[in-house]
Structure formats: structure tokens, C-alpha cells
């Protein structure tokens, strides 16, 4: 950040890209985004370092980030946390090598398997009997998977899941390391674990080897900016080579500087910020539960097996008992009340409470939910119960993705092997992934989710009337 300030103060005459030259070439853009913002949209140069080969200011900023997050090394990522997830997997598993993953991973994990040819060994997460949501991996199930696949290179862990559920990271690290496997954490939703008090354990602290952290999600940096953290067992320079395979060579300084500024704020004020965030979420949960009909769940779902810990800043609310799918509540909140929440699925909604919220906003959300119950609640008969469809993997994701495929109407696709992804976005957890058998259960879920208004993505056919399946 200081380097950019100093660059701006020097009023350098630029004969380099970007061609807008601090906005002079595109006044309309300056008006839209602001002069301050445009003036630091610059190219890498000696005084500003280069993300693919950091030797000065970016290196320093990355070292400060590593220190703040308690990691051996940190990499600034500008292609989203998805790229951090890819870099983690490709750093430890080559083509044909195994990696143990819970099935409720983000699509970026399976994307990477398609690109790299690494092979997933799925561990089914538990399912909550009432909420219907996928939970964490139990240590018992993981142990079984490790014993059955002693050649696996790594274990992948969501910390936490979108819904705030944490597996037993400390035990998992111990178990994996005993068997010579790396532990990779998807901490897209866990930035605050590194700074808040009384939070679930952060991956680096638990001894995990790598972690992908979406600083932009709950840490305050710009969308698409993210961090990849590595522990002492990981060769950092090799990781950079992997990152550079796919990372842009024109990294945005807006994104980079936002990571640096966010890191500083988190390090200096993180404790206080997340204390307030947790307070607001706890308050909102109480008020929502007082309305009746809704269930804003929290630490009481901890069961010592599939739910080892819970992130109280995640405001997830079970809506099925008022006869509305989460996605319906999500749509009503936006269309009628002007309130945008993170996502709604079949039976739950998720509101992100963060650094940027205040008490007034919380009161609005709670009151709107009270109104929605008063005006829209109905009998919940015939509502689908489960969020999680156990996959039936038949062939490797890479092989399936690149195989010869035909398009069939989705209604007639049962029994075929799927050639593409189908998922609701958000949360972006595949219902079907390439190489998996299309089951009746998955089809029922897709039809139901579509009918309730979920935004289904992943297929070539944007309307999802057709699906690509493998030729026999």
C-alpha cells in the first residue's frame, strides 16, 4: 500500500500499460469508479514488484500476511480462492494420484481434478437429521478412507463449510501426518478464525499444510482477492511455480493492495471486529428463534462426530417448518424487502454477518423474517428434506469431462454417467459431478430446486433442459 501511495505522489509519466494511463484515457470510467481507485490501477514495475516473481514490496507484504496468519509462507492470489484451491491440490497430487475429499466440496476442487487428473476418494459427510445439510467429515470415516487408500497424497478439509460446520481439524492433521499425507484446508469462509476469539481452530494453527483463505469473503478485501497459506513442510518456491502455471501475469494492484490493507486492519483490529460480528450474529439468532417457526441453529448441533465445532458468525436459518424453501425466503427478502442474503437452498438460508454490518441492518433482517412468516408461511407437506445427495462415482472426473458425450433431456437421463456439473450457485457444491451416475434422487432434487427458484449452474445448456452424458 505504501508503495502505491508513493508511486501516486511521484506523478510518474507512464508509457506502459494499462492504456487508460491513470484514467486519463477513459474519463467515464474515472467518474464511475473514482479517481483514487483508477490512479492505482497500474502495471507491475520495479518499484511495485511483480506478483509472479516477488522480490521487494509484494514479497514484504506477503511476509507480513504470513506472519499475521501464522503461516510459514503466504501468497497473494488474484484469481479468486478457486485458484488457491487449485494450487494447493496441484502442489501435492500429480495425475493419477489420490486425494481424500469430503463430497461437499466447492466445485473448484473437482475442477482441479479435471485439469490435473488427480483422483478423488470421497468421504461422505454426515447429514443433519432435521436440517438436511451436509456436515463435516468424521475422524472415524476418514480413518477408514486412509486405511483403504494408504497411497493417497493428501486430505482435503472444509474449515468451515458454507454453513459454518467444522470437522475435527486437529485430529485430522494428526491422523493424516501419521500416514504421510498432507492436509489441505478450504478456508474460503474462515478468514476470521485467524483473528477472532473463541472461534474454531484455524487450519495453520492446527498444523495443516496449506490453506486457501478468501480474505474477500469475511476479511474486507476486494472480491476475487485471496490468500494461499503454506506451512513449514511445504516447499514455497515450488508452490509459486504451480501458481504461475495459471495465474495472470497482469495482477491487479487494486486486488493486491486490498489484501495488504485488509491484512493490516485484521491484524490491528480483528479481535474487536469479530467480537462485534459474533455478538450481532448471536443476537440475530436469538431474535429469529423468538419469532417461532424458524430455526437459527448454532453450537447445539455439535455432535462430536460430524460437527466438531461451529462458527457462530454464520447466520444460517432453517425455514422448512414455515413451509418455505430457503430459496423462496431468499427471493422474497430481495424482491419485497430489499435485503440480499448469501444464499437460500432447499430448507435453509444463510446470511453473512461481517465487518460491514450494523445493528440497524440486523433489526431489518429479523423484522423482515417475522413478516415473511406472517404473510407467506404455509403447510410444509411435500417439501423435499435433504440437501445432500450421496454421489455414485463411476469414472474419474477428468476422463468423464473429456469423454465423448451426448446431450439428453434431463428427465430421461437417469442411469447415465454424467459428463458435466450440476449445482446450485451459491453454494456451488455439485449435486452431480463429471463421472458420476445420474440417480433418481439427484434428478428429483434438481427438478425440485429448479421449481423453487434455485439458480442452477454448471451445464452447457444454460436452461438445464438438457444434460451431457457419456456415450455408452
Amino acid at each position: 500500500m505504501e508503495a502505491l501511495d508513493s508511486y501516486r505522489a511521484k506523478r510518474v509519466v507512464s508509457f506502459d500499460v494499462p492504456g487508460h494511463k491513470q484514467g486519463k484515457g477513459n474519463p467515464e470510467l474515472v467518474k464511475f469508479l473514482g479517481a483514487q481507485c483508477i490512479s492505482v490501477d497500474v502495471n507491475s514495475m520495479k518499484p511495485l514488484d511483480n506478483l509472479s516473481h516477488p522480490v521487494s514490496v509484494i514479497k514484504e507484504a506477503e511476509m507480513l500476511a504470513a506472519e499475521a496468519f501464522g503461516a510459514a509462507n503466504a501468497f497473494f492470489m488474484v484469481n479468486g480462492t478457486s485458484s488457491a484451491v487449485s494450487a494447493m491440490i496441484m502442489s501435492v497430487a500429480k495425475s493419477g494420484e489420490k486425494i481424500i475429499v469430503p463430497r461437499n466440496v466447492h466445485r473448484s476442487v473437482i475442477n482441479t481434478l479435471i485439469i490435473s487428473g488427480a483422483v478423488p476418494v470421497y468421504v461422505n459427510p454426515g447429514i443433519h437429521p432435521t436440517l438436511g445439510i451436509p456436515l463435516g467429515m468424521s475422524v472415524k470415516d476418514l480413518k477408514k478412507a486412509i486405511e483403504e487408500n494408504p497411497d493417497a497424497k493428501a486430505v482435503f478439509v472444509n474449515n468451515p463449510t458454507y454453513y459454518g460446520i467444522c470437522s475435527n481439524m486437529t485430529e485430522i492433521v494428526k491422523l493424516a501426518h501419521e500416514h504421510g499425507m498432507y492436509v489441505l484446508a478450504d478456508e474460503a469462509h474462515g478468514t476470521h478464525f485467524y483473528f477472532g476469539e473463541d472461534m474454531p481452530v484455524a487450519a495453520m494453527k492446527a498444523g495443516a499444510d496449506m490453506s486457501a483463505v478468501s480474505v474477500h469473503k469475511t476479511g474486507g478485501s476486494l472480491t476475487q482477492s485471496s490468500l494461499l497459506l503454506t506451512g513449514p513442510r511445504i516447499e514455497a518456491n515450488y508452490v509459486r511455480q504451480i501458481i504461475n502455471l495459471t495465474q495472470t501475469t497482469s495482477a491487479s494492484y487494486l486486488l493486491l493492495s486490498s489484501l495488504d490493507v485488509a491484512r493490516r486492519t485484521l491484524a490491528l483490529q480483528g479481535k474487536e471486529i469479530f467480537r462485534k460480528v459474533a455478538q450481532m450474529a448471536v443476537y440475530a439468532r436469538e431474535e429469529i428463534n423468538n419469532i417461532g417457526g424458524y430455526y437459527a441453529f448454532s453450537r447445539e448441533i455439535i455432535d462430536g462426530e460430524f460437527v466438531h465445532d461451529f462458527d457462530v458468525t454464520k447466520l444460517s436459518v432453517y425455514t422448512r417448518d414455515i413451509g418455505l424453501a430457503g430459496i423462496e425466503v431468499y427471493d422474497i427478502l430481495r424482491d419485497k424487502y430489499g435485503i440480499q442474503i448469501e444464499f437460500g437452498d432447499i430448507a435453509n438460508i444463510l446470511a453473512i454477518v461481517s465487518i460491514g454490518d450494523n445493528q440497524y441492518a440486523i433489526e431489518r433482517l429479523v423484522s423482515a423474517l417475522a413478516e415473511i412468516k406472517r404473510l407467506y408461511s404455509r403447510d410444509n407437506e411435500g417439501m423435499l428434506k435433504y440437501e445432500y445427495i450421496a454421489p455414485v462415482p463411476v469414472i474419474k472426473p477428468k476422463q468423464a469431462f473429456f469423454a465423448d458425450k451426448v446431450s439428453v433431456p434431463i428427465g430421461e437421463s437417469e442411469g447415465y454417467i454424467c459428463g458435466e456439473f450440476v449445482m446450485c450457485y451459491p453454494p456451488g457444491i455439485p449435486i452431480l459431478a463429471p463421472g458420476e451416475k445420474i440417480t433418481r434422487e439427484a434428478l428429483d432434487y434438481i427438478v425440485y430446486a429448479k421449481e423453487k427458484g434455485s439458480f442452477l449452474t454448471g451445464t452447457e445448456d444454460l436452461d438445464l433442459n438438457y444434460i451431457k452424458v457419456l456415450k455408452d
Binding site: 433489526e363 423484522s367 423482515a368 413478516e371 406472517r374 404473510l375
Partner: protein
């Protein structure tokens, strides 16, 4: 020395009042509070740089937010007032012997304290035995109520800052739920003139109309508010503000007013054409 207080009424238009003396200035946990002594308008209450009331013209606002509802339903006994820390609305309500209970919910205790001290003519009814003061968020307070009030008066600040939640669909819906069968909600409805304010007017009216069977808007002229042309909302579960006016009843009460009268009551629901058009806007 010349000292002028200036408020932006819109981008490109300012309104200034010459100040004799700044009497009070302070920051509450919710907003900045200033009291100015002025030549033209007497004592002025300013919240976050915006004029809330002046001694000279507050009677218009407070009479108009209270008497129209009271003149259509003599049965009003339980009243909820939201906002209104200056006490003017309570003062007008307290003039009705028929009212049994007035619950007032104001988020900012310091506004009440400051007004009691510097605006005693407005903040004069807080000691009335029927008044119960609650210092909390109005949105939260009303959420917990059901079938409890005959009248709810929403005397909010502008829709930016602490008053934000009081212009929302969820709030109006919660009010509906808190009202009895013959309930009436009257709300401060902003000005239709400047574009940014006009958008608030149409949004609020759209929300209220989709929740209440009867939703009407009436107007008053308030010199120190942006454009001077001000609106109020009248919403009910059935009572009509003009047809159900109890003219003889209200006049028999002998309440002395300087702005409101029953002749004006019948006229103030007739709106300029551009305002009628604005209220049809459903582009939320």
C-alpha cells in the same frame, strides 16, 4: 460577526438560517445533536446536520401528524409513537382525555434529554402519567407487538441513519400486525419535490399500500423542511380518513390549533397531480 447554518436540500440547493448562538452541540451514540438559537425560527433542533424542528413552525408538523387520525376515530385509546424524541407529538396526543396509554419508543435517549432542556415548549408532556418511554430501536419494539394499538404514529427522522429501518416494508408490516382491527398508522412521509426524497415517498407508499387495505397520503406546508411541501401517510385496516371524519365530534372537543381544522382536513388529502403520479410509481 455573521454565523449561518446551512443544510443541503438537494445537490445544488441550500437552505440557510442565520444563527444567533449555538446553544448545544454533542454526539450521542446514534447521531450528532445540535441546538441553535436563531432569529428567524427561534430555537432549532438539528440532527446529523438536518433540521428536525424549529420553534416557529413545529406546530404545523405536530398538529398534522396527530389530529387527522384523532378526528376520524374517537375510540383511540392505546397509542404507540415511534421516534419523536422532541416530544411534540406526545404534547398534541396528551390533549385528548380519551387516550389511555401512550407508549413512546425513541432510539436516542440524549435527544429527549436535550429537548427537555432547550425546547421546553415542545418537550412538555413527558411527565404525563399516560406516557411510557422506551429507549430502543423502534423496529425491534414493534416486532414483538400484536393486536395492541389503535394508533401508531411514525415520527421518524430521515431514512438515512438511525431512522432507516422505519421506512421499510418489514417495519410497516410489523406495525400492521401491532394494530387492532380499527387501527390507524400515520407516518412522516417526506417531501415529494426533490428527486432523492421523491423516491423515498414512492417506495414508502408502495410498501404501505401493499400491506394496508386503506393507504392515503396528505400534505402540509412546513417552511423549514426541504421544499416546504411535506407529506404524511394515513393507513388503516378499514377506516377512511375523509369519509369517516367526525367533524362535529372533533370540534366539540374544543382543542385549540393553529394549523389544523376540520375544513383543512377534508382538503389536505387532495394532492397535486405530480404527487398523485409519484404515488402510482411501483418501480421499487
Amino acid at each position: 460577526m455573521q454565523l449561518w447554518f446551512t443544510e443541503m436540500h438537494c445537490e445544488g440547493a441550500k437552505f440557510s438560517i442565520k444563527v444567533k448562538k449555538c446553544v448545544y452541540g454533542g454526539e450521542s451514540p446514534f447521531q450528532r445533536i445540535d441546538i441553535l438559537d436563531t432569529e428567524a425560527f427561534g430555537v432549532v433542533l438539528v440532527l446529523d446536520g438536518i433540521v428536525m424542528l424549529t420553534e416557529r413552525d413545529e406546530f404545523i408538523y405536530h398538529e398534522m401528524i396527530v389530529h387527522p387520525a384523532m378526528a376520524v376515530n374517537p375510540e383511540i385509546k392505546n397509542v404507540l409513537v415511534i421516534g419523536a424524541g422532541d416530544g411534540g407529538t406526545i404534547r398534541e396526543l396528551a390533549r385528548y382525555g380519551s387516550i389511555e396509554r401512550i407508549d413512546m419508543v425513541e432510539i436516542d435517549r440524549e435527544v429527549v434529554e436535550v429537548c427537555k432542556k432547550y425546547l421546553p415548549k415542545t418537550a412538555c408532556a413527558f411527565d404525563d402519567k399516560r406516557v411510557n418511554l422506551y429507549f430502543e430501536d423502534g423496529l425491534k419494539f414493534v416486532r414483538g407487538k400484536k393486536n395492541e394499538y389503535d394508533l401508531i404514529v411514525v415520527d421518524s427522522t430521515d431514512a438515512f441513519g438511525p431512522g432507516e429501518g422505519l421506512f421499510t416494508r418489514e417495519f410497516y408490516g410489523n406495525c400492521y400486525n401491532a394494530l387492532k382491527e380499527n387501527g390507524i398508522m400515520v407516518n412522516q412521509h417526506e417531501s415529494p419535490f426533490y428527486p432523492e426524497d421523491a423516491k423515498l415517498v414512492s417506495n414508502a407508499h408502495f410498501h404501505i399500500s401493499s400491506l394496508f387495505p386503506v393507504s392515503r397520503v396528505y400534505q402540509a406546508h412546513i417552511p423549514t423542511y426541504p421544499s416546504g411541501h411535506w407529506l404524511f401517510g394515513f393507513a388503516s385496516k378499514g377506516i377512511d380518513p375523509v369519509e369517516d371524519l367526525k367533524e362535529d365530534y372533533w370540534n366539540s372537543l374544543g382543542i385549540e390549533t393553529r394549523y389544523y381544522n376540520t375544513r383543512l382536513h377534508k382538503g389536505c388529502f387532495a394532492l397535486p397531480t405530480y404527487v398523485e403520479e409519484l404515488l402510482k410509481d411501483e418501480d421499487y
